[in-house]
Symmetry: C2
Subunit: 159 residues, 2 copies
């Protein structure tokens, strides 16, 4: 256990973690779409402009995957995370176009100890992803399982 | 408009679309994780085995992206789709390990005409992704906006 490792106890409701900025290039948008979501507006600038999205636009699932990376950099990389059982809500509120720069933050909504696994806590977060104009492009609410500090310490009594 | 294009009217509640099978390789799991979710259990077999996932395991968001491709092949590629405003529910119920073969299906839950855009209908789906043992690995409920046949025909009166 390092001093920096965040455990369940560190995620009190209201605590906020900011996302680093990341610009999505046309090449990244097309590469993701080719593999996972090859609809024309995600592959081609002209088709994107002709669609309601208004330009070459990232697949919603690409925006979600980029948000995952932002969450990883913001707190998961230094947290005693045990993964996520899933997502309560994932809204794609606005098109993410090639060249857009995303940022945003996540905040703790609630935190409780697991009934079935008392060495674990369940932390619910809300993440908001914004573009370079400050417009909200995606919202996600999800649960993250975290080890508790006592459980963490138990395995490293002399650590 | 081709004869094969599915419009809002084709998505009656209960209609089911089956997914083609797809095997996830270790290389694909690691490539996705490096870009979007570089947690040890998604990058390394040993770390995966030491985790609650029990082996080199796909990021939940990778499973979701693969499901998106399955949805595309099952119906979106031949539908008058106008995209999705988001996801009501995304559950990752079981680990997806390197070498697992995924399949499954989606079904229409409900379909209604949009109040704000009457040329569009909103179709809600439930997708279930299973592994080679028939175990449920992911569930997703989401909305898909679809053009209506009348609106579709209007632009092609002599087509």
């Amino acid at each position: 256990m390092t001093d920096a490792l965040l455990t369940f106890e560190d995620f009190s409701p209201g605590r906020r973690f900011d996302f680093a900025r990341r610009t999505l290039t046309a090449d990244e948008i097309v590469a993701f779409a080719r593999e996972f979501d090859p609809q024309p507006m995600h592959l081609d600038e002209q088709a994107g402009r002709a669609s309601i999205l208004g330009g070459l636009a990232a697949s919603g699932w690409h925006t979600s995957a980029v948000m995952m990376r932002m969450l990883y950099e913001a707190y998961i990389r230094r947290a005693a995370s045990e993964g996520s059982p899933g997502v309560d809500l994932m809204e794609w509120k606005r098109a993410v176009l090639a060249g857009d720069t995303l940022s945003g933050h996540c905040s703790v909504l609630e935190a409780r100890v697991s009934r079935s696994r008392p060495e674990i806590g369940i932390v619910r977060f809300r993440a908001e992803v914004t573009n370079q104009r400050g417009e909200l492009v995606a919202v996600c609410e999800f649960a993250n399982m975290m080890r508790r500090r006592t459980a963490e310490g138990a395995g490293h009594a002399h650590g």
